[in-house]
């Protein structure tokens, strides 16, 4: 029972972590909270339903399940990347020189817009996700039961996190990103195209959120236009918990948050499900104001 709950927490946590990565990357580069990120995740979930619906109509899902799932992931990630790109162009780029609360408000505007846009085009009722993956699964040590969906979520999120880590540490663009996060002005002086870095950050973060959206849609089987809000808040909490702007911190924070939530709702009370994460956050911030892995920033005078 305990182990099973831990697994559930791990799955929930890896989804939070994937969304939190988008928040933390944007924060690391721009120093801004991307309030529309939760909606990108919601759009990712909807796109998965739409794409899988098309693939089922074509008749691909019954024959090549893995391929069609892959296509749904890919399509959703591509489209959400495009949404993230557009979001940055509309809500952030024109406001680069403004006060830092201005992009916050424009991002909130985009968030309200996207929520209502999905509600108008897709209807306000719950959308049911097609039941695709087979039942069954594997037993580990007679204690833990993993079904195919859970295995899928764990592997995909692990792979994505490893890929992101490699991207940031090994590639030229990753290097440019780290340089921009450290000092944007200095980075532009040594010839880094800051605008391209910012765009890439938004695209990657949004693609990650899309993957999370697809997996949640498969896991729970229903999608609603308002899911982006709660998920966004939780993921943002996870990012802050790990130390905002810090990529491993977001992963750690997300998984920790998922575990605490799963444990709390099964052993204490599920009514206050959302309370545990915030209590954890407040306690951590009281003792370590920059989050678990965040570095202490010394202010220059």
């Amino acid at each position: 029972m305990l182990l099973q709950q831990l697994i559930h927490g791990l799955i929930l946590g890896s989804v939070y972590a994937l969304i939190a990565l988008g928040y933390t990357m944007v924060y690391g580069i721009l120093g801004l909270i991307n309030f529309a990120h939760g909606e990108v995740y919601m759009i990712g979930a909807y796109l998965a339903i739409i794409f899988l619906g098309i693939l089922t109509a074509v008749g691909l899902t019954s024959q090549y399940l893995i391929l069609s799932l892959f296509l749904a992931f890919l399509g959703s990630a591509l489209f959400c990347g495009a949404y993230g790109f557009t979001l940055e162009r509309i809500a952030y780029r024109p406001l680069q020189k403004a006060h830092r609360l201005s992009p916050l408000i424009s991002a909130i505007g985009v968030s309200i817009f996207l929520q209502n846009y999905v509600m108008i085009t897709q209807g306000s009722s719950d959308k049911v996700f097609p039941h695709l993956l087979p039942e069954g699964g594997i037993q580990i040590g007679g204690m833990i039961h993993l079904n195919p969906i859970q295995i899928l979520i764990l592997t995909v999120s692990l792979l994505l996190m490893i890929a992101l880590h490699l991207f940031v540490t090994q590639t030229r663009m990753g290097k440019a990103m780290r340089a921009t996060a450290q000092d944007a002005r200095m980075a532009s002086l040594v010839g880094i195209n800051i605008d391209a870095v910012i765009s890439t950050t938004f695209v990657i973060g949004s693609a990650m959120a899309a993957a999370a959206g697809v997996m949640v849609a498969i896991y729970y089987g229903v999608v609603n236009f308002s899911i982006g809000y709660v998920a966004g808040i939780k993921a943002f909490t996870a990012a802050v918990l790990g130390g905002i702007g810090n990529i491993p911190g977001a992963m750690l924070g997300g998984i920790l948050l998922g575990m605490v939530e799963s444990m709390g709702s099964s052993y204490i009370s599920s009514e206050y499900k959302d309370l545990y994460s915030f209590l954890l956050l407040i306690i951590v911030l009281l003792f370590k104001p920059t989050g678990l892995l965040g570095e202490k920033v010394n202010e220059k005078v």
Binding site: A82, I105, I108, V110, Y117
Partner: protein, 415 residues
Amino acid sequence: MLIRPLGLAVLWIGLLVLPFTGIFKATLISISLLVGGLLWKGATIFFHQILPLRKNPIGLIRLPRFTKAVTAATNGANPLGSLATQATLREGEFIYPKNIYLLAKRVSPKQAQIAGLLSLSIAPLLLNNYFIDVLTVAGIYVVLALGLNITVGLAGLLDLGYIAFYAIGAYAYALLNIHFGLSFWVGMPLGGIIAALFGLILGFITLRLRGDYLAIVTLGFIQIVHMVLNNWDRLTHGPNGILNIARPAIGSFSFQEPIHFYYLILSMGLLTIGTIVRLNRSRIGRAWIAIREDELAAEAMGIPVTRYKVLAFTLGAMYAGIAGTFFAAKFAFVSPESFTFLESVLVLAMVVLGGMGSIPGAILGASVLIILPELLRGMADYRMLIFGALLVLMMIFRPQGVMARRKRLNFDFYD
């Protein structure tokens, strides 16, 4: 060369909406965007490039007839007059729109205030009950925006959970009234004090946190408050809320009609404005602005930073609490649904939209963001869609807020 970026943008948007709307609607959206964009471009070209070339090389605005008299009268010692004479204006001539204020007779702030107050007092006599209610709600949000303006605009603390204090005030009055029969006139200050106490506690907890960490803790706070209101059935009746809260009364006169509440919130709003204006000009107000501009420098100048930060938090919370008690009294009903994070964001948007730290800005922002959705009500489903888009557009075209104050000095050695 003008058409290409527009065409690409339209194509891009069409592609983005394609999976959600289908081919037919996506094409429709693209075409309407294209037409709109072309019209916009055409209008810009016409007004900025073609019109100025015709007849008058300087600008667009045709001087009205009385201008001559004004220019003549202000000749001489008046610096405005000398500027006007430099331009050697004649009747019917064209000048730059931005220079027109040199010639128009300026309305003093005092006159504007009196005119505003008069029209606000007379307005409800001419409006129906529905619009009076809209104005009353706008009044509540004016108080809220002014309170949040202390925390965010003056002291520079990003508070995302401001509505939590509003909820605390509303529930405090509701519970005190239901269980102990307290009247509104006792409940209102009490609600304010209770909310302020919560603000004090939260302020102390968040003392050590900076910037965005503070934002997330306040966000957590609104979530926690919302959750407690929803789940603590014995005290708050959960999602059903509390019914039959007593309306305010003076002697045998009871506040029942919308117009009664309108005048009540009008006087509460004026009281709020009065106190905040005085606060703003006091030593405390200047300390807050110093902290907002540069915390480190403020501390070096001997301002007890943490104490003033907590004070900003507490005072902001107090105004929210008072507004909350009014809300409970006006609608005689409170439920957790009214106190969500989205409401918090709405109040924040009012402050930013109006111009941070500006009192007229906060008032304007609150009025616009409450009245605008009402005007869009005819659009039904599209109301919030348009609202979101307008929020983005307003930020893009005026990022510093409508009534932003210009900074007096700007020392930035790097730029």
